[in-house]
């Protein structure tokens, strides 16, 4: 097993290399370079060209790629932001915590909602409860992310006024309140975006869990257990449910990847100051140093999430190890 895990980890490096090359190409395609955030119009063209030469911006692409990678790996240096006039690393650092908080909340809520629903729908396939759950799933599936965000804001923030429609913490509380008040305010701002994300995230998991359970119900080992006289409840818990949950649990890494991808929709609708919103703002401001840094970070996180999923699956599911 260790050999397989090691092999899987080793695959990661060429993958990361290819991703880095793609993002580098993307970065060179984007307008602007390391100097565009620093110079003002009074600097003459010749001096700018000399400076470019000195910084190595006119070097051939492979040389620049190596330089760029070394900066990222050794010094965490993503360059200089053009609009904020600060290093990109600092700007992203400000937002990491919010994104982390929101994604954790969404992930936890997603699984809390999805697993009972999936189990119920699969267990009582074709009954009224299954139909209700499937109707919920189809409605959630039919909602484009932003449409759901808008409806949530309209209903819970504007009409009912239960939750704030934007921000991550109340500015007045942040300035004057104690730690507890700040915590409550953060939580209060978190509810709406987290639930919106969770509703959208449940769809795939409920679908998968339901399909798995139904698949297992007709498998030969369940028929065998039934003919042996094992009580239905025990068959369901021990034979069907356990096997059905494996792929769901292994989908964790993919869930993280999907979450990161959709994050900027939710963050920019709820004005939640995380990396996703930073991404949208930076694209609108044509601040490509920040954009590129966020794409790199998200790709690496996705790669790690998938690695985690695969390793988890190898540990849990013995059939994969044999192969």
């Amino acid at each position: 097993m260790w050999k397989m895990i090691l092999r899987r980890v080793l695959i990661l490096f060429p993958q990361l290399f290819i991703i880095s090359v793609i993002t580098f190409i993307l970065a060179t395609v984007m307008p602007g370079d390391a100097l565009s955030g620093l110079v003002d119009p009074s600097v003459s063209r010749e001096i700018l060209e000399l400076e470019r030469e000195r910084l190595g911006l006119n070097d051939p692409l492979p040389v620049r790629y190596v330089q760029w990678m070394r900066g990222i790996i050794l010094e965490f240096d993503f360059g200089q932001s053009f609009t904020h006039r600060r290093p990109v690393t600092d700007i992203i650092g400000d937002r990491v915590f919010n994104t982390f908080l929101l994604s954790t909340a969404i992930l936890v809520l997603t699984y809390i909602i999805a697993i009972p629903l999936g189990v119920l729908a699969g267990r009582y396939k074709g009954r009224i409860i299954d139909k209700i759950i499937m109707l919920y799933i189809f409605t959630a599936l039919a909602m484009p992310t932003l449409v759901l965000c808008i409806l949530m804001i309209l209903f819970f923030a504007f009409n009912l006024g239960w939750f704030p429609s934007s921000g991550s913490v109340n500015a007045i509380v942040l300035a004057g309140g104690d730690a507890w008040e700040i915590f409550v305010s953060r939580l209060h701002h978190l509810v709406l975006p987290a639930f919106t994300g969770a509703i959208l995230g449940t769809v795939g998991i409920v679908f998968m869990l339901r399909a798995n359970i139904i698949d297992r119900t007709y498998s030969e080992y369940v028929t065998l257990a039934r003919s042996k006289g094992v009580p239905t409840g025990v068959i369901f818990r021990r034979h069907i449910l356990r096997n059905s949950l494996i792929p769901v649990a292994a989908g964790f890494g993919f869930a993280i990847a999907g979450l990161l991808m959709g994050q900027f929709f939710i963050e920019s609708m709820f004005m939640y100051p995380g990396m996703g919103m930073l991404f949208v703002q930076s694209v609108n401001a044509r601040d490509f140093a920040v954009v590129n840094a966020i794409i790199i970070i998200f790709s690496v996180l996705t790669a790690l999430g998938m690695l985690l999923s695969d390793i988890f699956l190898m540990i849990v599911d013995p059939r994969i190890r044999v192969e």
């Binding site: 189809f138 039919a142 484009p144 139904i214 991808m261 900027f264 996705t302």
Partner: protein
């Protein structure tokens, strides 16, 4: 084709799907016919006071006027047609790539499969929506670039799915029989294997179509889709991202919202019914 016969039978048990397919037929037909007629005058602008949308009552039109004074009712048809065209384009091309890669990978197996699947894995690690946004901003937002970039980053799921299907077909007797007869591989793939994959392609094509409509709407709503001069459902829905519009000018964003949700709901029901037909274990009855 077997799938359509089975699908008709499935419709008798699943009233949701039956209603959905009738509604979809009505929606698609009226959108394409309506847009064909309206295409010539949808961008006629009425003078609006204070550059504000005008309500249906005030303007005497069915759905009111938008901020530029265009008739919302006319705009809706053209927007829906454009959205559907983009979604159809993205779905079609991503299936074309996905089918090719998936079938080659699944049929040949071994080293070819390994290399192709590693490429697919790596390619799907890139956060595609973000890269698509950047590419659209850099290379301009037109319909062809929109379809091209979305296709480039969305064929991987299809490739995985069809590879799995092709892998299971490869182990069947009819393929080995063909091989022993000395049929060239390419002929086996096209003449023997593809007809057996049609079911899966059809079922997933419909589900992917719904997802593509959602992505187009999402990107356009964030302002990274098409511009004002090229109406789509997402562009119309962009109005709802403005809190003032959201609260006071409901007629600007409700019709496209209802149309998007109803269309996607129907497409999903039909797609799910089709998928159930291809996998008998998942049937309701």
């Amino acid at each position: 084709m077997r799938i359509f016969k089975l699908f008709l039978r499935e419709l008798k048990h699943d009233y949701f799907a039956l209603v959905s397919i009738i509604m979809l037929a009505i929606i698609f037909l009226s959108i394409y016919i309506g847009a064909f007629v309206i295409d010539h005058f949808y961008d006629v602008m009425w003078v609006t006071p204070q550059r504000m949308p005008v309500s249906p009552e005030a303007s005497g039109t069915l759905l009111g006027l938008d901020v530029m004074g265009r008739n919302q009712f006319h705009l809706l048809f053209v927007a829906a047609r454009n959205s559907l065209n983009i979604a159809l384009g993205v779905t079609f091309f991503s299936f074309a790539i996905g089918l090719t890669v998936g079938v080659i990978s699944g049929f040949y197996g071994g080293r070819t499969d390994n290399v192709l699947m590693r490429i697919v894995d790596t390619w799907s690690m890139i956060p595609f929506l973000m890269v698509v946004i950047v590419l659209l901003v850099v290379f301009g937002r037109t319909v062809p670039t929109f379809i091209l970039f979305l296709t480039l980053f969305s064929w991987m799921t299809r490739a995985r799915l069809l590879r799995a299907a092709a892998l299971s077909q490869r182990q069947m007797d009819y393929i080995s029989a063909s091989k022993t007869l000395g049929t060239p591989n390419i002929v086996i793939i096209v003449r023997e294997m593809l007809p057996n994959l049609v079911d899966i392609v059809v079922a997933n094509f419909v589900l992917t179509l719904a997802a593509s409509i959602g992505i187009e709407t999402g990107l356009s709503m964030l302002g990274f889709g098409l511009g004002w001069d090229y109406p789509s459902l997402g562009v119309m829905l962009q109005n709802a991202t403005n809190p003032m519009y959201l609260q006071h000018f409901w007629w600007v964003w409700t019709p496209p919202l209802i149309l998007v949700v109803v269309t996607m709901l129907c497409v999903n029901f039909v797609g799910n019914a089709l998928q159930r037909v291809t996998d008998p274990k998942q049937r309701f009855a």
